[in-house]
Symmetry: C2
Subunit: 343 residues, 2 copies
């Protein structure tokens, strides 16, 4: 009996090799054929991304909720848009979003290009009344008109499609390589601590990696535009459903209206997860250890022991990558006047 246990332990230890579903983060994101990267396009996208004039009253930029200076989110349960309005869901990190197959929590955008222009016209986010109003605003800013002409020479004026393309191009540069996990996968066996390695094995053994695999640990080795949706909770009825209000937002169902999609969500990335609290689509879970407990219970029907939680949290901390230094964009101005209305 005792010997049996030991043998099993040795077997697990010796037979384990790096899980085939784990892959290091590539240096470059997939680039769509119809939106090639150029330095000028990336710079234009960076300006647009950081420009609060793309919101109705000039107070909210893409970066307000997806703050590239603080690991890509806002550290809040839900985003806050113009006039202090609270959004319905948490702000996913923009870092490595380029590796997602679909965008938004519910996958309602098939590309970064499509995603980028959504919040502009969401009344509780940036609050522009239409994409035409966005373009009208941009056309008042001479530096943008000139930059769009250079970057998109086939179009005589800025278009909303090109706004999305430029922002997406910038976002494809927001990649965090060389996490301890990536270095481990590339052969640096000391990049992970013993506890992190225990955590890494545990997430496979108990089944977390049946969803969280692939380069983004979001089950995303699929074609771009094809989402990887999973139910949350997988096993309804635990105390957490009510405690963290897990089920009231129907997720993917709100897009498709198919019953099978109720409470389904795009699998979120584990990359930099330690830096993007609070957790889940509604941000109701404040700490990573609690998020691990909730997921084990709601998805795998497991009550983890505290040392198991600690090991998994240690592993997830090994997924924090290197954030490349960026220069701040200088936003083109409108000499002698402002384009922001008095709202």
């Amino acid at each position: 009996m005792h010997l049996g246990k030991l043998s099993l332990g040795l077997l697990a230890l010796t037979s384990w090799s790096v899980f085939a579903g784990f892959k290091p983060l590539p240096d470059r994101a997939p680039i769509p054929a119809d939106n090639p990267q150029t330095p000028e396009k990336i710079e234009l996208g960076k300006m647009l991304y950081h420009d609060p004039r793309l919101s109705m009253d000039g107070t909210v930029s893409c970066n307000s909720c997806h703050n590239v200076m603080s690991h890509g989110g806002d550290g809040r349960p839900v985003g806050v848009g113009i006039r202090g309005q609270r959004g319905g869901r948490g702000s996913p990190t923009v870092w490595n979003a380029a590796f997602h197959t679909v965008q938004f929590w519910d996958g309602r955008a098939a590309s970064l290009e499509e995603q980028a222009v959504g919040p502009l016209v969401n009344s509780v986010e940036m609050g522009m009344t239409s994409h035409d109003v966005v373009i009208e605003r941009i056309r008042q800013i001479p530096g943008y008109v000139e930059a769009f002409k250079k970057v998109f020479p086939k179009d005589t004026i800025p278009t909303i499609k090109n706004v999305g393309k430029a922002i997406a191009s910038y976002e494809r540069t927001l990649i965090t390589p060389n996490s301890p996990f990536d270095r481990y996968l590339r052969g640096q066996k000391k990049a992970l601590t013993a506890q992190q390695i225990r955590g890494m094995k545990l997430v496979q053994e108990i089944g977390c990696t049946s969803c969280h695999d692939g380069v983004n640990l979001a089950g995303d080795d699929l074609k771009m535009g094809e989402g990887n949706y999973k139910p949350f909770p997988q096993i309804p009825g635990s105390k957490y459903d009510k405690m963290y209000d897990i089920t009231s937002d129907l997720g993917r169902y709100e897009v498709t209206k198919k019953d099978d999609d109720k409470n389904h969500w795009r699998v979120p990335t584990w990359r930099n997860i330690a830096m993007t609290a609070p957790y889940f689509h509604n941000g109701t879970v404040k700490t990573l250890d609690e998020a691990v407990r909730v997921m084990a219970k709601t998805q795998l029907d497991m009550d983890l022991k505290e040392d198991q939680v600690s090991d998994i949290v240690a592993f997830l901390n090994a997924l924090t990558g290197e954030f490349p230094k960026q220069t701040m964009p200088m936003l083109p101005n409108t000499p002698n006047m402002t384009v922001t209305p008095d709202l």
Copy 2:
């Protein structure tokens, strides 16, 4: 008669040399003896300046209203703080603020150090309930605790005084040298156009420079901490008083409660003025040409001709300096948790 006019014109043209009150912007701002600059302190200040967690709900940073990426203001009539609250006055540009003798529109802070910690605890701005709450928040962020120890080794924990010192140190790097005007003053006679030179002469002849002189064109060749306050309107009763609601905010009087200070204001800088619309303490004037008309009437009792307005506006556009490139700070995080409450 005709000859007389011509002589006077020639006299004005030939006798004019560069006005003694005009001075090029120095490369460095004055540094107070008790807050020497160090690269580490400047970097810490930059992080704090760009960190929305210094506001109660994590949505507003110093940079939200004083946006260094867009010429230092927010392009809005008045700033917007947490929960969409509108402030009472426009956001002055942070660029070259280091050359002001006093800070805020009403000069109620004698230094950048003092100014920097004010908006943190203003209920309609960053909304922290006290400086203790600010420090408590900062102490939850390990990267800040470590950085404060390195930068201020005499203090064992972060203090609000040191928050002010770090932010002020960063702000003292926000200088825009080499405007066409500065290059002209340094001897590059072609740096200004003929129209800009006409405008430059005109602002002296009609008396604008009796207030707008010195390195910051804000009458600021005074000791730091001693404000240069002037009445606005100097000559009450013009149509503009009501049109732009000039007099309802009593300015300096709100600080001192002295009748003599009613409707007195710190003289604002002309530097980068073309880039910081809308204008005046309440941001009610949307364009620079109208601001010039208003000032001529309310301060000098003059109705300028349109070509005079154009010449002055052309000159003011020559005061746009070079904005140095900056790297974005990476804000220290709190692994596995967030410090932002759910407000």
